[in-house]
C-alpha cells in the first residue's frame, strides 16, 4: 500500500512540475527560446505572492489575482524590451541574456529578502486531506494537479480555437511569412511571454504554498520543468503533463527507497528517457 501511496503522491506532485514546465514549453514552442531564467521567474512569483499576502493579509490563492497579471505584464515588457533583440539564428544571445537575467533576479531577491527560506501560509487547506480507500490525499496537491490540468486544457483550447492561438501557431511555423500576413512578430512574442509568465505566476504561488523557498531555489525548478518537457516530448502540452507525472512518480519512488535518492531518481528517469527515446515519449514537433 505504501508503494501505491508513493505512486499517487508522485502523480499529484507531477502536477506542480507540469506547471513549472508549461511556461517553458510554451515559450519554446512559439519562439524557440529556452529561458534559463525560468526557474528564477517562478521563485520571483513566489516572492511576489509573499509580498502581496503580507501586505494585504489575503489568502495566498487569492494573491493569484495580483501575481498573474503582474507577471504577465513583466513578461511582455521583458520580451519587448530585451529578449526580442536576441532572437535570430544564433542560439547564444538568448541563452546568455537569460542566464544573465537569472543571476540578476537571484541576487536581487537575495538583496531584498535575504537567504532565509520563506513560505506562504495558506491556513487549513495546507493540512486538509480526503480519504480515498485507505489513501489519504492532501487537498492542496489535488488542487495543484487540477490546476495544472485546467491550465494545460485552457492553453490547448486557446491555441486551436482563438485568433491569438492562430497567431501563435503562425509565428511558430514561419516568422517571416506570419509577418507578411500582417502579424507583428514582436508584439506576438511579447504576448506569448506574458502568457508564459502568467502561468509561471500560478506555478510560483503553488510552489510557495507547498514548500519553503529561497532566492537560490530557481535552478532546480528550471531543471524539473525542463526534464518534464523533454520526457513528455517537445511541443506537446499534454505530453508535458505526462512528463511531469513521470518525474514526480520517479522522485517519490526514489525517496521511498532512500530519502537521499529522491532528486537523483528523477534525473535518472530523465536520462533513461533520453537514452531510449530522445524525442520524448509523446513528441509533436522536432526540436
Amino acid at each position: 500500500m505504501d508503494w501505491v501511496n508513493a505512486l499517487v503522491q508522485g502523480t499529484l506532485l507531477g502536477g506542480l512540475y507540469a506547471l513549472f514546465a508549461a511556461g517553458l514549453s510554451l515559450i519554446f514552442g512559439i519562439m524557440r527560446l529556452v529561458n534559463i531564467a525560468h526557474g528564477d521567474l517562478i521563485v520571483l512569483a513566489s516572492y511576489l505572492g509573499l509580498v502581496v499576502v503580507t501586505a494585504t493579509g489575503m489568502h495566498p490563492l487569492l494573491a493569484l489575482a495580483v501575481a498573474v497579471p503582474a507577471m504577465a505584464v513583466l513578461g511582455y515588457v521583458l520580451q519587448h524590451g530585451i529578449l526580442n533583440q536576441t532572437l535570430g539564428d544564433d542560439l547564444l544571445p538568448p541563452l546568455l541574456v537569460t542566464f544573465g537575467l537569472s543571476v540578476i533576479i537571484q541576487n536581487a531577491l537575495l538583496e531584498g529578502f535575504t537567504a532565509d527560506p520563506q513560505k506562504m501560509n495558506a491556513g487549513a487547506i495546507e493540512t486538509a486531506s480526503v480519504s480515498v480507500g485507505s489513501l489519504q490525499l492532501g487537498v492542496l496537491p489535488i488542487l495543484t494537479f487540477a490546476t495544472a490540468v485546467g491550465v494545460i486544457a485552457a492553453l490547448q483550447w486557446m491555441f486551436y480555437n482563438t485568433a491569438l492561438g492562430r497567431a501563435f501557431r503562425a509565428v511558430s511555423d514561419n516568422q517571416e511569412i506570419a509577418q507578411l500576413m500582417g502579424l507583428n512578430r514582436r508584439h506576438i512574442f511579447g504576448l506569448a511571454m506574458g502568457l508564459a509568465l502568467g502561468v509561471t505566476a500560478i506555478a510560483g504561488i503553488f510552489l510557495g504554498i507547498r514548500t519553503s523557498f529561497d532566492p537560490s531555489a530557481g535552478a532546480s525548478r528550471l531543471i524539473f520543468g525542463f526534464e518534464a518537457v523533454i520526457i513528455g516530448g517537445l511541443g506537446n502540452l499534454w505530453g508535458t503533463l505526462a512528463g511531469g507525472v513521470i518525474l514526480g512518480v520517479s522522485q517519490t519512488l526514489g525517496a521511498k527507497i532512500d530519502p537521499g535518492y529522491q532528486i537523483l531518481a528523477g534525473h535518472i528517469a530523465f536520462l533513461v528517457v533520453l537514452a531510449v527515446r530522445p524525442q520524448g515519449l509523446f513528441p509533436r514537433v522536432s526540436g
Partner: protein, 335 residues
C-alpha cells in the same frame, strides 16, 4: 602577393607574451603570499574560460554544466591521493584521464539534445554528479572532506616550496590550455571546427564528420577541465559537493568572462579574465550587488557588442595576438 597567418602584431605579441610568462614564472621570487594565491586563481579561471570558449565559441557546444568536470576532477584528486596513495601531481594527471573517460558516456547521452536544450542537459548531468558524490560517504558525503595533512606535506618540503609548486602548477595549467587550444585550432581538426562554426550544413557537405569533431572537443575539454578542477581543490584543500559542483563559481563566472572578453577568439578569455578580476577586486565588497552588475554588464555586451571587448578592439584595429586567420599581404611588386 602572399597569404600568411602571422603579422607584425602577432610577432610582437608573441615576444611580449613570452616576457610576461617569464616574469610570471618567477612569481614565487617577487610576489607575496596573497598575491600568489590571487594569481593562481586568475590562471585557473583563465584556463576554465579558454576551455569553455573552445566549446561554446568554436564548437557551438554551449554548456552550463562544466562544473560537473571541475567537481569531478576535484573529487578524483581527493580519491586518488587518499585511497590510491598517489602523489598529488600524479593524481592531477589521473583526474584528467578519468575526466575524459567519464565524459564519453555523458557526451553520448547529452549529444542527443540540440542547442539550448543541450545546455540545460549538461546542467542536469552536473546535478547528477553532485547528488552522486553527496552519496559517497567515503568522501565525506554531503558535508565533504579535507585533504589529509600528510598528503599536502608530501608535495614539497616547507610551506613556501608547496605554495610555489602550486603556483607553478596553476600557471602551467593556463599555459598548457591556451597552447593546446591554439595548436588545436591551427590543426586540421581546428579548421574543421571553424568550418562547422561558420556553417554547419556546408561543413557537413564537405565531408566533415560534425558529430565526431564536436565529440572530440567535448572529451578533450572535459579532461582538461577535470585537471583544472583538481588544481582548484588542491589550492582549497577542502571539498564538498556544493562547492565542487557550484554552477555560479565554475560556470556563470566563466561564461561572463568569455562573453565580456569576446567569445570565439583566443584573446577574449584573457581580456575577460583580467576585467573580471579587476571588477571583483574593486566591487567584491558590494556582495550580491556586484553579481547583479556583472549580470547586467554581460547582458548589455551580448546585446550591444556580441563580440565582446576584444571584438570592439579588433573591429577598430585589425590585428590578432594569436595568428589564427589567414590574411593577404600585397607586395609593392604586385601592382
Amino acid at each position: 602577393m602572399k597569404v600568411t597567418r602571422t603579422s607584425p602584431a602577432a610577432r610582437i605579441a608573441a615576444i611580449f607574451g613570452l616576457l610576461v610568462l617569464i616574469i610570471l614564472a618567477a612569481g614565487p621570487y617577487w610576489a607575496g603570499r596573497a598575491d600568489m594565491r590571487l594569481m593562481s586563481e586568475i590562471f585557473l579561471y583563465l584556463a576554465l574560460a579558454s576551455l569553455w570558449n573552445l566549446m561554446a565559441g568554436y564548437a557551438g557546444l554551449v554548456s552550463v554544466g562544466q562544473q560537473a568536470f571541475v567537481g569531478f576532477g576535484g573529487y578524483m584528486l581527493f580519491a586518488l591521493t587518499i585511497f590510491g596513495g598517489l602523489s598529488p601531481v600524479v593524481a592531477i594527471a589521473g583526474a584528467a584521464v578519468l575526466g575524459s573517460l567519464i565524459a564519453v558516456p555523458v557526451a553520448v547521452l547529452i549529444f542527443r539534445l540540440r542547442g539550448a536544450y543541450f545546455a540545460i542537459g549538461t546542467w542536469v548531468m552536473a546535478e547528477v554528479f553532485r547528488l552522486t558524490f553527496a552519496q559517497v560517504s567515503a568522501l565525506g558525503g554531503g558535508s565533504g572532506s579535507s585533504l589529509p595533512v600528510g598528503i599536502v606535506r608530501s608535495m614539497a618540503d616547507g610551506r613556501a616550496a608547496r605554495e610555489a609548486l602550486s603556483y607553478w602548477l596553476a600557471l602551467g595549467m593556463a599555459v598548457v590550455v591556451i597552447a593546446a587550444v591554439y595548436f588545436f585550432l591551427r590543426s586540421r581538426q581546428g579548421l574543421a571546427l571553424t568550418a562547422i562554426r561558420d556553417n554547419e550544413l556546408a561543413a557537413g557537405s564537405l565531408g566533415i564528420d560534425i558529430w565526431r569533431t564536436k565529440f572530440v572537443v567535448y572529451i578533450v575539454t572535459a579532461g582538461l577541465t577535470s585537471m583544472v578542477g583538481a588544481l582548484i581543490f588542491l589550492q582549497k584543500l577542502r571539498i564538498s559537493p556544493d562547492a565542487a559542483f557550484s554552477v555560479n563559481d565554475w560556470t556563470a563566472f566563466v561564461i561572463f568572462i568569455v562573453v565580456i572578453g569576446g567569445i570565439g577568439t583566443l584573446e577574449g578569455p584573457i581580456i575577460g579574465t583580467l576585467i573580471f578580476f579587476a571588477l571583483r577586486e574593486t566591487l567584491a565588497d558590494l556582495g550580491s550587488t556586484y553579481l547583479m552588475v556583472l549580470g547586467a554588464v554581460a547582458i548589455v555586451i551580448m546585446l550591444k557588442a556580441p563580440k565582446g571587448v576584444w571584438g570592439l578592439i579588433r573591429s577598430r584595429y585589425d590585428f590578432e595576438l594569436f595568428p589564427l586567420s589567414y590574411r593577404v599581404h600585397h607586395d609593392d611588386t604586385d601592382k
